[in-house]
């Protein structure tokens, strides 16, 4: 019951935050220097099409009315038309969103799991060689400049050795082949995902490893660990069943806190690997002055961050019953 109340509260908070972002974006694009029409209507459109779009977006109305129309359009899925593609923005978004979510969630889950596992081992061998190697390795990979790491990985593994594709998410010959089943297509996507995923993984797991390590060291000083030792439990049982689950809680918190940071990295990775996701679409729409698409991409990314935040919070509350407030 308590948990449900907590979740409801978080959902309401997130909806409010999303509304504020929506409003700020509206004001930003309407009050920016220059004409709002030039921001939302493609300069290459025919006169009639442009006028229809102006009416649909309510650009000739006063600001308050424009805001209401903007909200209505948002909830009915009318984001206008992309200048660059000429397609409705909403179609582009739905096309790109799953790709981003796939890369983003896989990388976060993988790096958190590996970080927790390695952090546990590092803390268990505190002060020994394994520990120093892991700590230094984590520090180094965590602070490497992400786009550069991506370029280096492409250079070594895609260009020199030719093990992986240089860019993209699918190979055309597999996807145009009507014979190809679901499995071969999934394998093809996975094959393309290896390098982008490794980039994000290498950048993120270090932070989780370091947090897990220090949290585990704190936990090992607790009284219940002493009790477990006094009972004569095996060291491995103490480590894996008594210390690790509690020590992993700060990792969950830090996953939540670093989500915004991770999505920055996601956008950079997508851009370097030309992974057809929302982050890359945002970057290219900004450089092409494709305002409707840029606005919608940013909203979607904010939505992804907020929802993942909610998931992390719920997970935390589920894992740690002390935290329900």
């Amino acid at each position: 019951m308590e948990l449900r109340k907590y979740i409801t509260k978080r959902i309401i908070q997130i909806i409010i935050i999303f509304f504020v972002i929506l409003t700020v974006l509206f004001l930003l694009f309407r009050l920016a220097p220059g004409d709002p029409v030039s921001m939302m209507v493609d300069p290459d459109m025919t006169q009639e099409d442009a006028e229809m779009l102006i009416v649909q977006l309510g650009l000739e109305q006063p600001l308050g009315m424009q805001y209401l129309i903007y909200l209505k359009n948002f909830f009915t899925g009318h984001f206008g038309f992309s200048f660059h593609y000429g397609d409705p923005v909403v179609d582009i978004i739905w096309d790109r969103l799953p790709n981003t979510v796939l890369l983003f969630t896989t990388s976060i889950i993988l790096s958190a799991l590996v970080g927790v596992f390695l952090g546990k081992i590092a803390s268990w061998h505190k002060g020994k060689k394994v520990d120093s190697i892991m700590t230094i390795g984590a520090l180094v990979t965590h602070t490497v400049f992400l786009p550069w790491l991506a370029l280096i990985l492409i250079w070594i593994f895609a260009y020199k050795f030719g093990w992986f594709p240089i860019n993209g998410m699918i190979s055309e010959e597999v996807w145009l082949d009507p014979e190809a089943g679901f499995i071969s297509r999934a394998l093809d996507v996975m094959y393309h995902m290896v390098l982008p995923l490794s980039t994000l993984f290498l950048i993120h797991f270090g932070a989780y490893l370091l947090i897990m390590r220090s949290s585990m060291l704190e936990t090992l000083k607790e009284d219940y660990i002493l009790t477990a030792r006094a009972k004569g439990l095996e060291e491995k049982v103490i480590r894996d069943h008594h210390a690790a689950p509690n020590a992993a809680l700060p990792v969950v918190t830090s996953v939540g806190l670093s989500l915004a940071f991770s999505i920055n990295g996601g956008a950079l990775t997508e851009t370097v690997f030309t992974w057809p996701g929302i982050g890359r679409e945002l970057v290219s729409s900004v450089s092409q002055n494709d305002y409707p698409l840029a606005q919608a991409c940013f909203l979607m990314i904010a939505g992804v961050v907020l929802i993942s935040n909610l998931v992390v919070d719920v997970l935390y509350a589920y894992l740690d019953p002390r935290i329900r407030y």
Binding site: T143, W148, Y159, A267, L268, A302
Partner: protein
């Protein structure tokens, strides 16, 4: 720093801040990571200082406009250009040195601004409590979930090309919430101490209590956060420049990487691809190590707060 320490330890009387600095310094000196970080930073500072030398020797070494009359395309290291030249024949070494200057400028100014903001807001929220506290902290929550890089991107879509100081300002405006939360927590506990009560009884204004009585007690914590803010500002600026939205009038390391990438030289010219990336990564690493070392000096229990984002 060493000479300063010797000088101070000679004198019979010490200011309390000096003695606490010396105490911290002696703990810091035992910390290997901290020492490595500090050494690297001194090296980068020297690089930044040296950035004035090449353009002074000859205009062909100017990082932005210098063009060697004999070289018009990307070429490898030689005696005249130790690290080679880029696609327009500009010297890579002098670009690298200029990049160090930009990195320090961006990192430190953005960090100082965000710390000043974070400390003021955190202290105000913690001290005033009630409505102001709720309002400021909700605002902090909101800004905290915003990906800074993408926010700057979006703003450059709306306002066009941003210059370097605008970028610094935006980074600072979006990176204060983490600091202000910690400072708020600290202020909440300080508020209960008798000396604040005493100041109140003596008739001190809220402003005076916050800035004269509370601030000195939270500043060490704020300094710790500064190192982490420096790294995040440097990374954000570099990433922005890498994506092609940096200030076109500056030569930063991110900009250099963008030129390698966009002109398609990344597979042909490792002497051009490697140095800027190594520099960004190393400066980040050294600030990070310095931060962790200071963390241990100030308070070993703080270790959980040390992620860069």
């Amino acid at each position: 720093m060493v000479s300063k320490q010797n000088e101070n330890s000679m004198g019979p009387e010490r200011h309390p801040w000096v003695s606490s600095f010396l105490e911290g310094w002696s703990i810091f000196r035992q910390n290997l990571l901290g020492k490595i970080g500090l050494t690297l930073l001194v090296m980068f500072a020297l690089m930044a200082l040296c950035s004035y030398i090449p353009p002074w020797i000859s205009p062909i070494y100017d990082p932005m406009t210098g063009v060697d009359p004999d070289i018009t395309s990307c070429s490898g290291p030689c005696l005249r250009h130790w690290l080679g030249t880029d696609f327009m024949g500009r010297d890579i070494l002098s670009q690298l040195l200029a990049g160090a200057r930009i990195a320090f400028m961006v990192g430190i100014s953005a960090a100082v601004m965000s710390i000043v903001l974070g400390v003021s807001i955190g202290m105000t929220a913690g001290y005033m409590g009630r409505f102001i506290d709720t309002l400021l902290m909700r605002l902090a929550d909101m800004i905290m979930v915003m990906p800074t890089l993408l926010v700057v991107l979006l703003l450059s879509a709306v306002f066009g090309q941003l210059n370097i100081w605008t970028i610094v300002l935006i980074i600072a405006l979006f990176r204060w919430p983490g600091v202000s939360r910690i400072i708020r927590g600290q202020t909440l506990s300080l508020k209960q101490r008798p000396f604040i009560e005493a100041a109140k009884v003596a008739g001190a204004s809220h402003f005076r209590i916050i800035f004269i009585h509370i601030m000195p007690n939270v500043l060490p914590l704020a300094f710790l956060f500064m190192t982490f803010r420096v790294t995040s500002a440097i990374i954000t600026e570099a990433a922005l420049a890498f994506l092609g939205f940096g200030d076109p009038g500056t030569v930063s390391w991110g900009m250099m990487l963008q030129w390698v990438w966009k002109t398609g030289h990344m597979f042909q010219a490792p002497y051009w691809l490697l140095p800027p990336g190594i520099c960004i990564s190393l400066i980040t690493l050294s600030f990070y190590m310095l931060g962790r070392a200071m963390d241990e000096v100030l308070d070993p229990r703080l270790r959980k707060e040390d992620q860069t984002d």
